[in-house]
């Protein structure tokens, strides 16, 4: 078992973007690596484009606490609307971010964040990364439904919380077997994304390509520099 500091992740997205599935894949990969991890979602009525959050807690030490991650080390924003339209359960969107924390935002270009937010982020010594996850997912995997995998790729490019091997195995398990039980809407989205490939193994290969491409497409943005402008 490798040793890892307590790493708590909040994934904020819109219903249908796969934030819950991404958390499942990441947490399961950490578990395969011999780390302690727990995964849970938070949502209201299950519908597309409604705010949906999921949380992953990864640590070498047993993790007891349950529910939403209030003090994340990493926040993954799956859609600009989480920030620009307040489609999340916390205000501001980075509420609770720990010092030196990481923000990973799915956007083709840097968003114009409020000065006050930038100041707070600079005080936190937060790092902001942008990744055009939906664009890359569409280009590489042929579907915006793979945005969540591109986000995991972005995260893997920033922090190697799990091994790439476990990420792959975890995806095989999530998409490959008959064991996973999803709600009706999640099952329909599963079918839609799997329907684009003749075999699940092809989908997994594409996803691995996508993880690499997303990692390579990261751009870092410094809130402190922006603040001085």
């Amino acid at each position: 078992m490798k040793s890892i500091e307590k790493n708590f992740i909040r994934m904020s997205g819109l219903g249908g973007q796969g934030a819950v599935t991404a958390a499942h894949i990441l947490g399961s990969a950490a578990n395969k690596d011999g780390l302690e991890s727990t995964v849970n979602p938070f949502f209201g009525a299950e519908k597309r484009l409604a705010p949906a959050e999921s949380y992953v807690r990864i640590s070498s030490q047993k993790v007891y606490e349950k529910g939403e991650v209030l003090y994340p080390n990493t926040i993954m924003i799956f859609h600009p609307h989480v920030i620009t339209m307040g489609k999340c359960y916390t205000m501001p969107f980075f509420d609770g971010l720990q010092e030196g924390g990481v923000l990973l935002i799915n956007s083709d270009e840097p968003l114009s964040l409020r000065d006050e937010d930038l100041r707070l982020l600079a005080d936190l010594k937060a790092k902001i990364y942008y990744v055009p996850a939906t664009k890359i997912a569409t280009e590489v995997a042929g579907s915006e439904l793979s945005t969540n995998i591109a986000m995991l790729g972005g995260l893997y490019g920033i922090k190697k919380l799990t091994s790439i091997k476990s990420l792959k195995e975890s995806m095989m398990e999530r998409f490959g077997g008959g064991k996973f039980v999803a709600s009706g809407s999640t099952a329909a989205l599963d079918d839609a994304v799997k329907g684009k490939f003749a075999k699940v193994s092809q989908m997994i290969e594409k996803n691995m390509e996508l993880i690499e491409a997303a990692g390579a497409a990261l751009t870092e943005f410094c809130p402190a520099e922006e603040k001085e402008d």
Partner: protein, 389 residues
Amino acid sequence: MCSDNNFDDPGAMLLNGPRTRAFITGSEAVCEAVKRACVDMAIAYPITPQSESMHLIGDLYAKGYIKDYYRAENEFAVMAAVHGAALGGGRVFTATSGPGTLRAMEMFPVWAGARQPIVCAFMCRGVSLPPSIQPENIEMGMLLDTGMLMFHAENGQDFHDMILQAYLIAEQTDVHLPAGVFADGFFVTHTREEMMLPPEDFRLLPYDSNLAPVPTFDMETPPMRITRDPLLNKSNFISSSANASWHQEILAAAERARKHIRRFMGGLIEVENPGSKVFIAASGTAVSQSREAIRILQGEGIDAGLIKIKSIRPFPEQELKDAVEGADHIIVPEFNAGGWLAREIRASLDRNTRVTAGPRVFGGMTMPPWLIADEVKSAIQAAKVNGGN
């Protein structure tokens, strides 16, 4: 499927037998328990956050693990139908949440009164108004005097184990009462974490209705003779005392359950750091949050003990008294607005001003561990200030 059983002593097997790892949700853990429980009939009605569990149990039926399964008209119909199935001598399972629990309320004392070892899982959530589908366990406070046994699971592992243990306890001839197995919705049902499962071929022994203290209903023993005539409180003088003594027997049966809870569940409570001056006493997810609070306190050089209350009915009065004998403070964090657990604890202890009824979180949010740690620190601080006067 039930005949696959290869284990003579399922109770011992559950406590000490081999287990394998699984990274699953609480809902999946419920399914794993029911799969191994030799259930004759399960009846479902969907409500968040319970729906996934009963959906998975429908899949068990499709695979042949359960003899019958259907979706009823509503929660009251579900609870009435499992009552009927149990009257006929079957082992039954169902589950519900929050508003579903309240809708079905009339049936819970009926189960207890009919002395049926029905096991029902409650995935606790908020009850309207204001509406909430999120975790909150106020419904437990509303079920305290229904006559059923009540066990509160801390996590998915407990939820799995307690469902199987509930059958073992509830079906004892000298108990034969319904058992509610409660978990805080979402925190347990939707959280995926590592759990340890018994072998795939592990099974409870099939239910034997001949061991029941009341006869199973069939054509030889028609329902009306038993339920209506002696117990209905009419002007007939004998029926009042029959009704009262039947009630007393339900309460006595719950008392007799204690020894079986000790045997099958390892006790009504679990105590960590015995002899502490400060204890956090909690049940369900509040126990997990308290474990993190104790870590925070330890980091600041403060020692606190933990009392995990597993059995809510029967309530562990004596165990609690003994555990906090030398303690100055007992902090009771809860996921509900009413504070039913703190009331129960206060009613069980002498010098009950030692009990701090809080912190409480409701409305669906999680309980930050520092909130509990702060409560512990203010209790200690207040005592210092008062002591100085």
